[in-house]
Symmetry: C2
């Protein structure tokens, strides 16, 4: 039961055209955990330094996230500094201080080995391969980024061969496969071994492609988007969180999971950092899910 | 009953990364008519020269399009030459020879005045205003383009004040309103008088916004898109064609109309020019509609 996530917990400095956010809690595993924990038991594997604010650890505990796998070490937490332009699309990285994350060697606690789902958030594909060796999860999902596509392609292809679901954005899908058409890009990744492909298109929605089928979903339309940081990991949290509690992973479950991922991501982008996401509960999530369903069903 | 469309019938030269198409039938009113005629009676107002191939006039007649309003004059038909880059997104205009279209003064035949829907396809907004004076249609819809937004803004704003539905693409919506967010852009146009806003996003689907509600729909996902020329007018034909035969224009009808517009546009982009679009019938349209519904309902 539940999901193990291996990724980063970070401190972010983000600038958007609407304002700045200094020393915000960030990192792929943070957003993922805060999102998925609304659906299922989440077990977190990451590393932070002693500078990481205690209140965010308290928040994770409040969300019932198992933090046995969160190492708190002497030294500094991974820091990311980025900015967005008016289109609020791809982030521009201004600075990355890996700090303790540089020597991160994820180790799954014994209790984390046999969970239903393992999510390898965006980390070095060589580390993802290390974690794959430790895990006996039934379903393995992974994310990646342009840096690894460019510099660690061979390790990344090994990961893709072994996993069930890859969740990546449209730029990464095109860069990885050298295909402009996203359906062709997805089919190429399937030919490399990954069974299910989820391509995130930001405010243009999401595509799902498997050997047998494909689905498309629009995003949740919003007038005010403040900060897309973490939206992709929040989506992955809602998507895999919902699948984790589904009795069967069939087409119907996947379509609903995509919708829950979309709904969760809409909370993240409507505020800076985790403030809106961390306030949500079953009631507010169900309310927005129903509205979203109404706005796109015909 | 039925739809009157006022627009261009043209001869196109189109180059895409996949090939060229010389002397193809084109123009906003051509694509619109071939699409909408699958749903309702279409009455066409446009002008062509004696050089316009007779076989396409025959095709329009075969589709039961009323061509009483199609003037066939001495001289040359409007010609457009354009190209697309690999993204198959916005067309680059290489040459425009207005020819007879330069002096086009649309006149509605008496039988065209009281139809249910008038669609003012992309023509000079001053001509759109002239047609508005002649029509007593219950619902008036219009399209426009970057040229008019830039050079005929004042006439265009007069049009927008008087119409019920505007159908434009995301670039035009942003250029017109100076708003990056499409929901805000739509609301600004509503504040100018247009009641219903349809924003086309190409392969990323379509948005609908009115004072009370909004919907989003993905596009029909395709592996092979050859030529997007005419896709927007084909969409408009399916959208308004379906609405024309709906007994009530409520939310449910609009959502289905958006889906039929999307389905019709998918036929246009899967071949060069009108060849796939003109082959469709009720059966093939219903088949793709059902598949599209299945691929995006959850």
């Amino acid at each position: 039961m539940g999901i193990v996530v291996v990724g980063s917990v970070a401190i972010d400095d983000v600038t958007t055209p609407f304002g700045k956010n200094h020393n915000a809690p960030g990192g792929s595993a943070t957003y993922f955990s805060l999102s998925a924990s609304n659906f299922t038991k989440v077990k977190l594997v990451a590393v932070v330094g002693e500078d990481f604010p205690k209140k965010y650890i308290t928040l994770l505990k409040k969300k019932k996230v198992d933090i046995q796998g969160l190492e708190i070490k002497k030294g500094k937490t991974f820091r990311w500094k980025g900015s967005y332009d008016w289109d609020l699309d791809n982030a521009k990285t201004l600075a990355t201080d890996l700090n303790l994350f540089k020597d991160f060697k994820p180790v799954l606690p014994k209790e984390y080995i046999k969970d239903d789902i393992l999510f390898l958030a965006n980390i070095d594909p060589e580390l993802q391969l290390d974690v794959l060796k430790q895990s006996k999860a039934k379903i393995i999902a992974a994310d990646t980024m342009n840096l690894w596509i460019e510099h660690k392609r061979s390790a990344l292809l090994k990961v893709l061969k072994r996993i069930d679901i890859v969740i990546l954005n449209e730029y990464e899908a095109r860069q990885l496969t050298k295909e402009g058409n996203l359906l062709k890009a997805a089919k190429k990744i399937i030919s490399w071994g990954t069974k299910k492909i989820v391509i995130k298109k930001g405010e243009d929605g999401v595509l799902f492609v498997s050997k047998d089928t494909f689905f498309a979903s629009p995003a949740y339309l919003m007038e005010d988007v403040y900060d897309p940081t973490g939206a992709g990991d929040t989506f992955a949290g809602g998507f895999l969180g919902y699948l984790s509690k589904s009795s069967k992973i069939n087409d119907a479950a996947i379509k609903k999971a995509l919708a829950y991922g979309t709904v969760m991501a809409s909370f993240t982008v409507e505020s800076y950092d985790i403030s809106s996401l961390s306030k949500q509960n079953n009631k507010s999530i169900e309310k927005r899910f129903k509205l979203f369903k109404k706005l796109c069903s015909f």
